[in-house]
């Protein structure tokens, strides 16, 4: 078996490259750029893919809830569950503090009604077995939802029926020129008998305080006392042991949305006692009822927690941090829901959107889909870009190798006469192409390595949210890719340029 000397081929190849060194340099540069673009693109896509994976893998939906949104007329409000208090039996809820039997059972749904509201606030009183016995009454003042200059007069001590007291002086509205008329135990009391019906929403419920002696009988219904008037405590004026004097204004503030508060009537009880809590609990229990939820898959993150987390993240950005520090908490309460089955995401989302109080959901899968389509866009653009660069590289290599071929065309003719096989003639030129490809590939690899680490450190420092693969993980791929594509390009280019000279 005859053997060909490798050194001959390499010698010829390097001679050819050296003779046309400028062209060789040009083709290395072009191919190098082509490979770098390809590599960057590939690494970008891989990293997007990776972030996609981690996003998709979390199987997480974030449900944004608003538990403090006021109710409108007719809205369904969940009522708090039963309270427990030592020595007391809880019966249910009522809008009447003196009720002995509950209007609503614990956990019932209450249909919000304007007539239960005082100044936009609906109070649910706990109904206890046997009722509450009041030893005397407390006098309390109420601004009826108007912002006051100064503060309201404070609650009185407990007073026995029949005790006299002087009512508080006039109060003054803070922001508008609302005229203070006087105090009344009926929030709906009005100065003008004829104007009684224009505050329609507040009329109707006048069962209490109607029959007390009218010291200053003005207007219709309940009497309106002038500031500083003497008032004798009467059990008839009390609701739940409290006699409330409402500030009566010439022009009553009107409310179209309502908030719900709970009142245990002075009993120390345990249980959720804010409407927000009740609503959150309701949402949570509804969430628990869904099928596609992983074990312990529902985590409540309060707006305060979110705020704190964001603050921690932004510690190094004083201006952003200050914004969070000073302003109102811009974050809503959220439930972070981990689901079991990725294919049921859409159904789950729909179910979530239908739960009262969840006003928005954000699905990792959604985000993943967005990034996915971004990825497709990138792939499309870069494919074209790459195709063009690839063609250009091949052309430059064809021309470089052709220079060597033309220079040696006489030699090639002689080789053919002496009986050189095609591959023997072609191999030095192909080797030249391959070496150009190899040099470009190796250079591209190291340049990309450097660039990647540089960009990575930059991004890692700036944006924590993005996870970037370490270069080590990409190294084999980039190296093999660069070398392979480089060598292939060089080989194809040189094969094209030598083809014509190989005809026997």
């Amino acid at each position: 078996m005859k053997r060909y000397r490798i050194s001959y081929f390499f010698g010829q190849a390097f001679k050819g490259m050296w003779r046309n060194r400028m062209m060789t340099l040009a083709s290395v540069t072009v191919l190098l750029s082509c490979l770098i673009v390809m590599g960057c693109f590939a690494m970008l896509v891989i990293n997007i893919e990776r972030n996609l994976d981690s996003l998709g893998d979390l199987n997480e939906i974030v449900a944004f809830v608003d538990s403090e949104e006021p109710y409108i007329e007719g809205a369904k409000a969940p009522l708090a569950p039963a309270l427990t208090a030592p020595g007391k039996t809880f019966l249910g809820w009522s809008t009447d503090p003196d009720a002995t039997s509950p209007e609503f059972r614990p956990g019932d749904t209450y249909s919000v009604s304007a007539k239960d509201a005082v100044a936009g606030v609906i109070t649910m009183y706990a109904v206890w077995q046997g009722g509450i016995t009041h030893e005397g009454y407390t006098v309390r003042y109420h601004a009826l939802g108007v912002n006051l200059e100064g503060t309201l007069p404070e609650d009185s001590e407990t007073l026995a029926p029949g005790t006299s007291l002087l009512l508080a002086p006039a109060v003054k509205a803070r922001f508008d020129n609302r005229e203070f008329v006087g105090w009344s135990t009926d929030p709906n009391a009005s100065l003008h008998s004829d104007g009684g019906s224009d505050t329609a929403a507040e009329t109707g419920d006048e069962t209490t305080g109607e029959t007390s002696e009218p010291t200053a009988p003005v207007g219709d219904g309940a009497p309106i006392y002038a500031p500083g008037d003497e008032y004798t405590v009467s059990a008839d004026d009390a609701r739940g042991g409290v006699i409330t004097f409402y500030a009566i204004w010439e022009e009553k503030p009107s409310f179209t949305s309502y908030t719900l508060v709970y009142d245990t009537l002075g009993v120390e009880a345990s249980g959720s006692l804010t409407d927000a809590e009740v609503r959150l609990n309701k949402i949570e229990s509804q969430l628990q009822g869904l099928d596609n939820i992983a074990e312990n898959g529902i985590v409540f993150v309060s707006r305060e927690e979110t705020l704190q987390a964001e603050k921690d993240k932004l510690k190094d950005y004083p201006s952003l941090f200050a914004y969070l520090e000073e302003g109102d908490n811009p974050y809503p309460d959220t439930f972070q829901i981990t689901y079991k089955d990725n294919s049921g995401v859409d159904a789950l989302k729909l179910q979530l959107d239908n739960i009262d109080g969840i006003y928005k959901t954000r699905c990792r899968a959604d985000l993943a889909r967005n990034i996915e389509s971004l990825k497709h866009g990138i792939i499309l653009v870069f494919s074209w870009f790459m195709a063009i660069l690839f063609v250009v590289s091949i052309f430059v290599i064809i021309n470089t190798v052709k220079l060597a071929v033309v220079h040696r065309s006489k030699e090639i003719t002689i080789m053919r006469y002496v009986g050189a096989t095609k591959w023997f003639i072609a191999f030095p030129f192909e080797l030249e192409g391959i070496i150009i490809g190899l040099i470009s590939g190796v250079a591209a690899f190291f340049i990309q390595w450097y660039m990647y680490v540089y960009v990575q450190s930059m991004i890692m420092n700036q944006i924590e949210l993005i996870s970037i693969l370490p270069f080590a993980a990409l190294r084999p791929l980039v190296l093999v890719g660069c070398l392979l594509i480089g060598v292939l390009t060089g080989l194809i280019g040189s094969m094209i340029s030598i083809r014509k000279y190989l005809k026997a």
Binding site: R3, Y8, R416, V418, G419, A420, A504
Partner: protein
């Protein structure tokens, strides 16, 4: 053995260079091919080297059927014949030694074989002292001897020389011809295309005369002058 049977060659442009050649050359023969310029002598040698394909007829060389030879076998066929051209066709950036060794390298001859054979071939053509010269440092006759050495490098059975003395000082032509005769004595078939009447007459070998693409005479002896 070389055998032309009714070989026609028509070039793609329509020129009929050979119009039905019948010629038989036995192994170990020495043949002069003579004829005026344009007669078709070079075409004949090109058919033998398979540089051109025959248009019709059949051509067999040393058992190779050239009319049916696939492209990939051509190199191996060419290793069995040695060709010398009027213009030497040496590689200018290689020494005499390298030019000869090159032909052996191409066929994958081991270095050690090359090292042994090149000097002996160079001594056949009388250039053992010029091994490290470059072609442009040599006289025309010497260059042609290098070409001849290269043609011999792979020990072919047949040597084909197309006007080997055409570019050489006439006083040195005889020297080349003597070399070819010497090679012929080593039991090789030698085909020499030439113009040189005196040489043909001098050597008294078989002479095939071509005119207008046809063989007009084929005899032994120096009858070159009579036929043209």
């Amino acid at each position: 053995m070389i055998e032309f049977k009714d070989v026609k060659k028509v070039y793609p442009n329509g020129t009929e260079a050979l119009g039905g050649i019948d010629l038989k050359i036995e192994d170990g023969e020495f043949v002069f091919i003579v004829g005026v310029s344009g007669a078709g002598k070079s075409t004949l040698t090109k058919l033998l080297t398979r540089e051109e394909k025959i248009t019709s007829g059949s051509l067999t060389v040393n058992g190779f059927d050239l009319s049916r030879m696939p492209e990939r076998k051509v190199p191996y066929y060419r290793r069995r014949i040695g060709v010398v051209f009027q213009d030497f066709r040496l590689l200018p950036d290689m020494t005499v030694y390298e030019n000869v060794a090159f032909a052996m390298q191409i066929v994958g001859e081991p270095k050690r074989v090359i090292k042994r054979r090149v000097p002996s071939i160079l001594s056949i053509v009388g250039l053992q002292d010029k091994a490290s010269c470059f072609p442009d440092q040599l006289a025309g006759g010497e260059q042609q001897r290098v070409a001849l050495a290269r043609a011999l490098a792979n020990n072919p059975a047949t040597i084909i020389a197309d006007e080997p003395t055409g570019n050489i000082d006439p006083r040195l032509s005889l020297e080349i011809m003597n070399l070819l005769i010497k090679i012929h004595r080593k039991n090789k078939t030698v085909i020499v295309v030439t113009h040189e009447k005196q040489l043909v007459d001098y050597f008294q070998q078989r002479v095939v005369t071509i005119d207008g693409g046809n063989i007009v005479s084929d005899r032994v002896g120096g009858m070159f002058g009579e036929t043209v």
